[in-house]
């Protein structure tokens, strides 16, 4: 069983690191690099949302943390001359800490109430970035440099992106690597005791606390991991677009992060990854039908959720055969 999983992982790694770039080069559609980079980064933010689903909370506020993470990175780079690679973990940590303060009061809420508050959160974050002097309001922060190189003890880990022949490939590699790390972490969480406790929380909070689980601590911990993912995704986006505005992440993005999880399947660690890929490409493919794009897109989503309430991945679940 374990060997089988390892084989799948190896196959996946070869595919994303070698086969995809090869296919893109053959087809000459270099724009796919950007698309896939976006998918990879969005799926990191979705992974965070998925984790809050795992403790039984519907999180429609991931956009807030993506935005916050993006601004942290942008400000540190533009005003304090930080290296992007240093700002990346800082952005994540900033969001994690921020989410502790936000999470402590709001994680007491359940169901639709928590969902509503998180929905507002995205809007609050947007308005905050509009109002604060340091975020420069609606002008945003623009013309950020491409990520510079990273050296540790003279060992060159990451090359300077501005020296790359095609920075798009660099960004693709970066996004894919981050995504793989994020999902490895998620997989490990879910399959360790932490994940079992999250499930206990999802199914029955009262019982969880009566078996001695510190539910508040666990909820806040999970939420901050989720927000960490959001911050990382936001900061990476800033590096690619070299700019950030209050409208970079909006309520619609927050909702998409949630939809990605639904679509892929809430019961599967890799659900949000597949969901993001399908939603992103689905939307783009439907572009050809012009003004009916939204109509067809939403109808398809409704149909998918009606017939596959446990997500697309439930199609492949042989365990649940009845």
């Amino acid at each position: 069983m374990n060997k089988k999983i390892l084989a799948y992982v190896a196959l996946f790694l070869v595919f994303v690191y070698a086969v995809v770039p090869m296919l893109i080069n053959i087809s000459g559609r270099l724009d796919f690099y950007y698309t896939l980079t976006s998918v990879a980064l969005l799926s990191i933010a979705s992974a965070g949302v998925w984790l809050t689903f795992y403790i039984g909370r519907i999180n429609i506020g991931q956009g807030a943390f993506a935005l916050a993470g993006g601004y942290v990175s942008a400000i540190l780079i533009s005003q304090y001359g930080f290296n992007f690679w240093v700002t990346l973990p800082i952005a994540g940590l900033f969001c994690a800490v921020l989410s502790v303060f936000i999470g402590l009061p709001i994680l007491r809420l359940r169901g639709v109430y928590f969902a509503m508050v998180t929905l507002v959160l995205t809007e609050v974050m947007r308005l905050t970035t509009l109002a604060l002097p340091i975020t420069q309001g609606a002008k945003g922060i623009t013309s950020l440099p491409l990520p510079s190189g990273l050296e540790i003890f003279g060992l060159k880990l990451i090359p300077d992106f501005s020296t790359l022949e095609n920075p798009k490939v660099g960004f693709y590699m970066m996004a894919i690597t981050l995504m793989i790390i994020a999902y490895a972490v998620l997989y490990r969480i879910v399959n360790s005791r932490l994940g079992h406790l999250c499930r206990s929380l999802q199914q029955n909070e009262e019982l969880a606390s009566s078996i001695g689980v510190n539910t508040t601590y666990l909820r806040v911990l999970t939420y901050s991991i989720s927000s960490f993912f959001g911050g990382i995704a936001g900061a990476s986006f800033v590096a690619i677009t070299q700019s950030i505005y209050p409208s970079s992440f909006q309520v619609a993005d927050s909702i998409n992060f949630m939809l990605n999880c639904f679509l892929g399947g809430l019961g599967y660690v890799f659900g949000p990854m597949l969901g993001t890929l399908m939603l992103y490409f689905g939307w783009d493919l439907l572009f050809t039908i012009g003004k009916y794009q939204m109509l067809v897109y939403s109808s398809l989503l409704i149909i998918l959720m009606l017939f596959l309430p446990n997500g697309v991945l439930s199609l492949f679940d042989r365990k649940e055969k009845r």
Partner: protein, 260 residues
């Protein structure tokens, strides 16, 4: 010998309603003590006060001489006072074994980070939990359904699973909230034997709230009777059976009693 659990003058008001009024009693180590009373007598409220799911308005609950009233529920559980629930409360989409394993949380020595990284301590914990879960499964006779999803189980098994979850926390005292409700006679009698075995084999003190009077009479060492939030009697099953106050509480005053 000092009592294991002391309930001292505990009162709970909900606005103007007094649900539990100045109730005091002790639970001794190794006994099975039942709290009975007509509907609305405040039994379940009392349970929630002891397990700290509700805050007391007045009075104290002491466990091994230390105050446990008004602490966080998980802290009370950590001290060794663990409750099961009136509704069959289990983790629905886990298997029986998973339910029991996850409930070993209090006994984990490794940190959550340790579990994440798969440290040696964490792996030892996992192994220990698995073995302990198998012991509990054996003790409660759940072998045949160990890998069933909890949501597929019938009532009787759910009750036992609820108890298994409680046991997994390795409590010094377990509070059973209406363990026999909704069970038929056979299931009840099986569970009665089971609870007695738990006390004898795992040295767990049991405090239970129950409606089923025959079961209570059979199982209890001592009984506390509540009516309208007040304690009206305390004693052995014999003493309670012959207590005129108790008979009145259950059947109304004598002239209204229409045979038993």
């Amino acid at each position: 010998m000092k009592p294991l659990l002391e309930v001292r003058n505990v009162t709970k008001r909900f606005g103007g309603l007094i649900a539990v009024n100045d109730v005091s009693f002790d639970v001794r180590k190794g006994e099975i003590l039942s709290v009975i009373g007509p509907n609305g007598a405040g039994k379940s409220t009392l349970f929630k006060l002891i397990s700290s799911f509700l805050k007391t308005s007045n009075g104290l609950v002491l466990f091994r001489g230390e105050i446990i009233s008004n602490l966080a529920p998980h802290t009370v559980a950590r001290r060794g006072v663990v409750r099961t629930f009136q509704e069959t409360t289990i983790f629905k989409s886990m298997t029986v074994r998973e339910n029991i394993i996850v409930s070993h949380h209090l006994q984990s020595k490794a940190s959550l980070l340790g579990f994440f990284l798969g440290s040696r301590k964490a792996r030892a914990d996992e192994k220990r939990f698995g073995e302990s879960a198998d012991r509990i499964i054996g003790l409660l006779g759940l072998e045949n359904i160990a890998n069933e999803l909890a949501s597929n189980l019938p009532q009787g098994h759910l009750r036992v699973l609820g108890m298994a979850i409680g046991l997994a926390t390795d409590p010094a005292i377990i509070l059973l909230d209406e363990p026999f409700a909704g069970l038929n006679h056979d299931e009840t009698m099986r569970l009665v034997t089971l609870v007695q075995r738990l006390r004898d084999e795992r040295e767990v003190t049991v405090l239970l709230v129950e409606h089923d009077i025959p079961a209570v009479m059979k199982i209890s060492n001592r009984i506390v009777v509540l009516n309208f939030g007040q304690k009206i009697a305390e004693g052995t099953p014999q003493e309670i059976q012959n207590n005129p106050g108790v008979i009145e509480a259950y059947l109304g005053s004598e002239d209204m009693a229409v045979g038993i």
